[in-house]
């Protein structure tokens, strides 16, 4: 028979030998194995007290960035929603009124911007699609909730705080290489 890989094992129905029939050697061997696990390093951690180290470029909960002057960068172009393979992003665009120049960077903005965190697969394609550097994934993790409604994150949860001290650092995901890569139109996957 032609075997596809060298990992397959042929099944045999051979009669058990005496020691196999007695079970005890196999039982003792099994107990030896489990006993060795007793002292092994545990795979789990005491979660809220100790936390696992996250990569700097971890793809967790999204943030809607503001620019230097605290204005929202998002212009509600909808490219992120189009790029999203899980169709988790919805938005309603609105026109900037006179006097709101300190709130929104451009004439159009998203009055409603929602990401359904239950649908989101944290692939980062929204971030890649965004031409305004407005949406980023951060290394925060999405908190659990008892209700499904609680997982639809609006601007209240996504937008970063106005306070300059509390801004969310995304420089690790915004490296020069990434920016260069984004400029190269030939590498665009959704063109």
């Amino acid at each position: 028979m032609q075997l596809i890989s060298d990992r397959s094992k042929l099944v045999s129905n051979k009669k058990m030998s005496f020691w196999e029939k007695v079970y005890l050697p196999a039982v003792l061997n099994g107990m030896r194995i489990t006993f060795s696990h007793l002292f092994r390093k545990k795979a789990t951690i005491r979660y809220p007290e100790t936390k696992r180290e996250f990569a700097e470029i971890y793809r967790g909960q999204h943030v809607l960035k503001r620019d230097e002057e605290g204005r929202e960068r998002c212009t509600a172009c909808g490219l992120c929603a189009v790029a999203c393979p899980a169709e988790a992003i919805t938005m309603i665009a609105d026109e900037r009124k006179p006097g709101e120049e300190n709130l929104y960077r451009e004439e159009k903005y998203a009055s409603v911007y929602e990401i359904n965190m239950l649908r989101c697969i944290f692939c980062g394609l929204c971030e890649e699609a965004c031409p305004k550097e407005a949406i980023f994934l951060t290394k925060r993790i999405v908190a659990s909730d008892y209700e499904r409604d609680g997982f639809i994150y609006g601007k209240d949860k996504l937008l970063e705080p106005l306070d300059r001290e509390k801004r969310i650092d995304v420089s690790k995901r915004e490296t020069k290489e990434v920016l260069e890569f984004k400029k190269d139109k030939s590498k665009k996957h959704n063109s």
């Binding site: 039982v27 107990m31 194995i33 092994r40 545990k42 789990t44 951690i45 005491r46």
Partner: protein, 339 residues
């Protein structure tokens, strides 16, 4: 006479409390060991190292909804878990927990009842234990419960035979059915397990089956029978069943330690030349550590071996363990005769 009764009452309640406490913390230790063997941490949320977990479990069980199926036989339904619990607690009476205490020149044995048929008493009580499960399974009026109960009773009856036969060899050696005599003959390091390893092995396997523990946990296998005989039980009635299992485990570890590992005896005990009271205290702790080790073996085996199939279980019981036990009796008999 009054002091005697008072002493026995105090001793009995102490042992009762001890059994309950040990059973309570066995649940936590079991889960901890399960965690460690599977490279997990185990429960550690309730209190430091999860020490309050048994309390939390107990409170949870008390506050759960008391559910009784419409078609259940009310009297038997309540009798089942009560009987199981009662019988689990009865066995500890015959076990010698230490050598004699001496207070004001009078000897007080650390044993509730030194009956001359100790082993027989324990086996009699353990055999009644199957009624608790059988009644519970029958009264639930549920096919899973009934199947679990039928399995439990046939399993327990089959393994009781091999268990008793294994003990007969020990009794032949000792020449007494009293547990106190059996322990005293194992003075020092002269333990029965050195003379009767086969009997010990058979007894151990049967003890697993008697306590309905893995790999012989067929009566309550979650995967096939949705919990087996206690499918329809909830709240503290379920708690009683689960609790009784741990008490049974504790008691069978104690019986094993008494019969095969010298009970409260330990090596070089004569050379210490201590007062009888200190001796009794040390003896108690020695017995308790033996029980702990055996209890660990129970848990260790549970988290190592997969469940037996029912026909394999019956084949092992009737075709392997019983003939082996009989052979063991014959060989013991010949050796005693030759000596």
């Amino acid at each position: 006479m009054g002091i005697f009764i008072l002493y026995k009452t105090i001793l009995a309640s102490c042992i009762l409390m001890l059994s309950l406490l040990v059973a309570m913390y066995s649940t936590l230790i079991e889960r901890k060991i399960a965690g460690f063997l599977q490279d997990r941490l185990g429960p550690d949320r309730a209190g430091p190292w999860g020490l309050f977990q048994p309390l939390a479990d107990g409170i949870k069980l008390f506050f759960k909804e008391e559910f009784m199926p419409n078609t259940a036989d009310k009297f038997l339904y309540i009798l089942g878990p009560s009987l199981t619990m009662l019988i689990a607690l009865l066995t500890s009476a015959a076990i010698p927990w230490g050598s004699n205490l001496v207070i004001n020149g009078k000897e007080y044995p650390l044993q509730v009842a030194d009956i001359n048929i100790g082993i027989l008493y324990i086996f009699a009580i353990v055999s009644i234990g199957v009624y608790g499960i059988m009644i519970g399974g029958w009264a639930s009026n549920n096919k899973y419960a009934l199947l679990g109960a039928v399995r439990a009773s046939s399993q327990m009856i089959s393994y009781e035979l091999a268990m008793s036969l294994a003990i007969i060899a020990v009794v032949m050696m000792t020449g007494s059915l009293s547990l106190k005599d059996i322990v005293q003959q194992q003075h020092g390091f002269n333990w029965n397990v050195w003379y009767q390893p086969a009997a010990f092995l058979i007894f151990l396997v049967c003890a697993f089956a008697e306590c309905n523990r893995s790999p012989f946990d067929l009566p309550e296998c979650e995967t096939e029978l949705v919990g087996g005989y206690h499918t329809e039980y909830s709240s503290m009635k379920l708690g009683f069943y689960l609790f009784a299992e741990y008490i049974n485990m504790f008691i069978s570890a104690a019986v094993m330690a008494t019969l095969f590992f010298g009970g409260y005896n330990f090596p070089f005990m004569d050379k210490l030349a201590l007062s009888p009271n200190t001796m009794a205290t040390i003896g108690f702790f020695v017995l308790f550590s033996k029980i702990t080790i055996l209890g660990f073996v129970f848990m260790w085996v549970r988290w190592t071996l997969p469940r037996f199939r029912y026909d394999q279980l019956m084949r092992l019981g009737w075709k392997a363990l019983i003939p082996l036990a009989i052979l063991n009796i014959v060989i013991t008999g010949i050796v005693i005769l030759v000596k």
